[in-house]
Amino acid sequence: MFDDFFMRALIAGIGIAIVTGPLGCLVIWRRLSYFGDTLSHSALLGVTLAYAFSINISLSVFIISGTVALLLLSLQKRTKLAGDSLLGLLAHSTLAIGLVLIGFLSSIRFDLMGLLFGDILAVTVEDIFIVWFGGLIILGILFYIWKSIFAATVNYDLAAAEGMKPDLSNFIFTLLLAGVIAISIKMIGALLITGLLLIPAATARSLSSNPRQMVILSILVGIISVILGLFSSLELNTASGPSIIVAALVLFILSLISFKRSGALQK
């Protein structure tokens, strides 16, 4: 029916959307979109190192983004810099180090556009395996800590007082975020991953009245965005990563219009 490369892109893209759905909701609820940006910027450094030492890209990105995430958590407790300044500092310095290193690795040809914006049409069977296997592990762990991370998201003090161990689940959640960036960087790209985390979840927000609904809807919206984006990318010959994000944006705008019409949640 479709070409192989297109099917591979579709399968991998849908796998990513299933994982970004629930994590994206948590990112929105916890106001962590800048945090996601910082992790994905630092992912570029991970990609460069993967090329330099010829190791797996997802593994290297997970290690670098995970390290940056843990560094952030500990710096936030120690320095007097505001959270957003700290995020910007780490985001841009890791991005810069990544780009400087690319300069040193002149012997290897880099597709910089591919790194920044993803190349979903170059997905291999191995990539599909990484997305679905990694994605299942991330979802499994998230499911396991959901009660605790959700309680901590609603209110840290309540969660801490009533034995939900919020510090532990915050720590794990941060690593999961690094994990989702690691499995999706090749397809979506360092600059656009946060978009796939945020936009479907934001779309789901205006259509849902409880947290579970919002998680399910944001998965569905993510999947629809991937399908629409890939088809339009094929038809119009546009870059696939950005096409997916544009499709997600269109759905978001539609949700705003229907939200205004129906007056849902006005109670």
Binding site: I28, W29, R30, R31, K147, F150, A151, T153, V154, N155, D157, L158, A159, A160, A161, E162, G163, M164, R205, S208, S209, N210, P211, Q213, M214, L265, K267
Partner: protein
């Protein structure tokens, strides 16, 4: 009632943050079936003390020990981000798995059972406060910590809620730590009052505490009279901050 189980014990506990002691040298005990009240001016460390008891804050000095199995907390302030769609029924279940009967029962007790499917964001301050209390008692805790639980609740509701708190301590036989400004309630139902101002100024039964010179220094003579006799003649007026201008 002395053979009742000890739920939590602070020994000389203190919290040090931003190069100063928020509270220091706090020793207290809460037993099963007992209502302990913390009073004190703003910034005197009432909430900090509650957070030490609940293990939200680690102590920098002293010891917190206890054998409360299930603690429940009604915080003074809680902000739920608008980006999260959350109904009352979802909020009730955030730290424990309750069935609908348990949820409805406790919402009935605080008089907000009709709001079960309402969005948290649509509730008024007083309604939200009732939901917070209902959530805390629904899990049948053995130690309940209430930080200014009736703020924003109308006058009649306030009396009803305070009666409910008293009722809960009897029915569940749990220990209650209450932070309250309502001296009438403190006087009529509390077993033990602790007057805080960075350290424990004085403590004891309500009738003893109000006679304590430390207490009078902190709250003024008039307050002490109010508490002792439940009525007083105005021979003075109050400034906005509550101090007395004769």
């Amino acid at each position: 009632m002395d053979q009742n189980k000890l739920l939590v014990k602070l020994e000389n506990a203190g919290v040090y943050r931003s190069s100063k002691w928020l509270v220091r040298g706090i020793s207290l005990e809460i037993n099963q079936g007992q209502i302990v009240t913390l009073i004190g001016p703003n910034g005197s460390g009432k909430t900090t003390t509650a957070k030490m008891i609940l293990n939200i804050l680690n102590t920098d000095e002293g010891l917190v020990t206890g054998n409360a199995n299930k603690m429940a907390y009604v915080p003074q302030k809680i902000n739920i981000d608008w980006t999260m769609p959350l109904r009352v029924i979802d909020f009730m279940k955030i730290t424990s798995s309750l069935n609908n009967t348990q949820i409805t029962e406790s919402l009935v007790m605080t008089g907000v059972d009709k709001l079960l499917y309402n969005q948290i964001h649509s509730l008024s301050g007083g309604e939200f406060q009732r939901v917070l209390i209902a959530r805390a008692i629904a899990k049948k805790p053995d130690l309940l910590v209430l930080d200014e639980p009736v703020q924003g609740v109308d006058f009649n509701g306030e009396i009803a809620l305070y009666n409910l708190i008293k009722e809960i301590s009897v029915n569940l036989n749990c220990g209650i730590l209450l932070i309250s400004h309502d001296m009438h309630f403190v006087m009529s139902t509390t077993d033990h009052v602790i007057c805080l101002n960075g350290h424990i100024c004085c403590s004891g039964s309500p009738s003893n505490v109000v006679k304590n010179p430390e207490y009078i220094k902190l709250f003024g003579e008039h307050n002490s009279e109010t508490l002792s006799y439940y009525q007083h003649q105005h021979d003075h007026s109050h400034n906005h901050d509550g101090s007395i201008s004769k």
